[in-house]
């Protein structure tokens, strides 16, 4: 009888660097079954996913547009997760920022853009941070599990948005749940004419650089990593773990708030309920897929943006459901996580 045995041993270095490639291959194999079920050709489908968006200037820029909120959300979530604070509430914090942007956009009309836009971004940051404050305080002071509280507050925020849009902000003309248009001086300027790519992308890239710098070069970054990787040891070494977590949580909420600003002032120009198709949650996937590393998060977000763009063309061209993109993203995450775990083991015949 053949007997096998699982041993714990680190994978060789060359294999580690190939993990993204293997993960993509396995994801392809798994999702191929679904694509075949949808009566489409998997290879063609993956062409639409991964290659087609990059073949034209318009769709390539659209990938960057789609990546903007994803990068910011990934960075937001990473800030919290690195410090061991599991912020599942980026979605709600995003809407807090969006509310701030929708309001500031209507009252700052008199200011020049150079003044109005920084105030918009700061306002969104503060709104997101404030929405993140309560669960963070509960966590630090009373040890209330932040996963539960931040998640539940997302629903609360959605009701607040709905109340605003169906109440005071309901459009008097059309009657639709849609806030008034923001003033032109508060709109995030386009980076490239005749595209949707706006200043938010620059902010997103900056956020990646800030994340990298804070984590690897600052005292606070080291404290965050120590608190997240070894809470007891960090406390023992004199790191104020509670304070570190609290600040990380607020930064996380603030950046999530900026996602809301970026979407309101860069894409929609008013607040609607559907401003985010779950960017806050996708941010968790991206942060995890990017292994809580600034460059990893950026790469994961761009990859997700690519698939998001590809899915739309795909469903037009081949008539498969648009959900396939999300299924692929989720499969990719699970496969990568499994691979990161399995690389520590090998199977041997005994």
């Amino acid at each position: 009888m053949l007997r096998f045995k699982i041993e714990k041993t680190g994978a060789p270095v060359w294999m580690r660097s190939l993990i993204p490639v293997f993960a993509l291959l396995v994801t392809f194999l798994i999702t191929s079954g679904l694509i075949l079920w949808g009566q489409a050709n998997p290879i063609q489908a993956y062409y639409y996913f991964l290659i087609a968006p990059l073949t034209s200037r318009v769709s390539a820029l659209e990938v960057l547009v789609k990546s903007t909120p994803l990068i910011l959300s990934g960075v937001a979530v990473t800030f919290a997760f690195v410090a061991g604070y599991y912020n599942i509430g980026a979605e709600g914090q995003l809407y807090a920022g969006a509310i701030a942007a929708a309001w500031l956009g209507t009252v700052l009309g008199g200011l020049p853009p150079a003044l109005a836009i920084p105030i918009m971004l700061l306002g969104g940051f503060i709104a997101g941070a404030l929405w993140a404050l309560t669960p963070a305080l509960l966590r630090v002071k009373l040890a209330v599990d932040e996963v539960v509280t931040t998640l539940l507050l997302n629903s609360v925020m959605l009701f607040i948005v709905s109340a605003l849009l169906n109440g005071p902000w309901r459009s008097p003309v059309s009657g639709w749940p849609q806030s008034p248009e923001i003033a032109p001086s508060t709109v995030l300027p386009k980076l490239i004419p005749r595209s949707r790519l706006h200043l938010g992308f620059v902010v997103a890239v900056l956020s990646v650089v800030v994340l990298w710098f804070v984590l690897s070069r600052t005292v606070f970054g080291l404290k965050m990593r120590a608190a997240g990787l070894g809470r007891e040891a960090a406390r023992f070494a004199g790191v104020n773990v509670g304070r570190t977590m609290l600040i990380a949580a607020l930064i996380s909420g603030g950046i999530a708030g900026i996602v809301g600003v970026s979407e309101v002032a860069g894409i929609h120009f008013h607040l609607i309920e559907e401003i985010s198709p779950g960017y806050g949650y996708t941010g968790i996937l991206i942060a995890t897929l990017g292994a809580l590393n600034a460059w990893g998060v950026a790469a994961a977000a761009l990859f997700f943006g690519l698939i998001d763009t590809g899915t739309q063309t795909l469903s037009h061209a081949m008539g498969v459901p648009i959900y396939l993109g999300e299924v692929t993203q989720a499969t990719m995450l699970l496969v990568t996580l499994a691979m990161l775990l399995l690389q520590n083991y090998r199977i041997r015949r005994v």
Partner: protein, 504 residues
Amino acid sequence: MDIVQMRGITKRFGPVVANDHIDFNLRKGEIHALLGENGAGKTTLMRILYGLYRADEGEILVEGWPVRINSPKDAIALGIGMVTQHFALVPPLTVAENVVLGFTDGFVLEKATIEQRVAEAAKRFGLEVDPSAVVRHLSVGQRQRVEILKALYREARVLILDEPTAVLVPQEIDALFETLERLRAGGLSVIFITHKLEEVMRISDRVTVLRDGRVVGTVETARTNERELARMMVGRETFGVRREERAVGEQPLLQVERVCAEDDQGLPALKEVSLVVHAGEILGIAGVGGNGQKELAEVLSGVRRPTSGRILVDGQDLTGATPDEFTAAGVGRIPEDRHAGVVGELSVAENLALEYLEEFARGGMLDREAIRRHAEELIQRFQIKARATDRARTLSGGNLQKLILARVLSRDPKVVLASQPTRGLDVGATEYVRQQLLAQRARGAAVLLISEDLDEILALSDRIAVMYEGEIVGVLPAQDADPERLGLMMSGAVKERQGAYAEV
């Protein structure tokens, strides 16, 4: 007649050879000590015999027949039982329920019947336990007896004991040895894993010494002595560390006054603990684990807040201060769990800097060059076998402890708080740590040494305080202390000085 023969057993873990062609045989009715340092391969070999690991090479014979032991179930069926350091008992169940667990027939479990059966077995083997007692309420020694009973109830003819005395006070050790002698007379064969020479000489018939995964030799206990065994075990003569007698300073550097604290469950863990440690003095805290030592160390580190009492370091009141305030006041802390003292995923250099981050910061930014230089200097000075960029979790126990010592002792602290500083370390690393503690004493630091290792306490301390159930039950000058006296105090049988203010 050999009841167990292990031939050419080899076991590798990745690149590490834990057992290298080991031959081992156990005679019927003998107590066979398996002696070696930590990491010599003793436990691995026995885990193979008990079916917890599978050997890469070699064969096992039981009563002359080749056998395959793939799981503990196979081992039990062959009459092999094992008692590990971590007991496999279910605390809320009774002794009888624990003993029969997994070894019952039929569907209905009749309490009275099993208690009667277990009581009979206990009587037959001379193991004194109450079958209806709930395990949670038993002492460590009693729990060990239940474990032995469990193995014998499963008709074990071979009993493996993995460092059985590590958790016991001297009186309990005496009782265990009496039990083993009685069981041996009844025909049981015992394998006794230990690294304590004195126990080998006292209880065993033969000794097999392992070093670095190989058998150094098997000898009759009556024809050897501790010196020879030590040489076989370590591969060289050991000298141990010697405390030179010297005058202790007058200046009290650490004063603990009537400190009370609660454990994680909110139950009282420290009851009015009072201690004084002077400059140039080592005060040893002896006691069986779980009697408040952990909480005492945490209170003195700033990790746990006392509910009442005062803590003074060189006259400065630090009651309720935070860990960084303790560090700043000159308290160097060597934690009980050295893995909890470092962040495993951070580098050696980052861990060495973690306690003093302000010194390595320039306007909130890390001075990475200074962190690296600091690390390299300490790596050299404290002989840490690692690079500054290695992740701390990749270090061996000894090197990890050196990292912690480096972090603490390079600051010339006024007070050194060492909790179980040599637990789990090999002989070489243990000696190194003890020498460092003595060097601190010579330098004039006040050292509080919390240890469950009585030999360590006796070898290093100027005075010895004994903790029992959260209280200091007595303080002795080192010259008045001996294992028996301390053992009685550790078991709560004697209070030397009721509610003593621990100053001699």
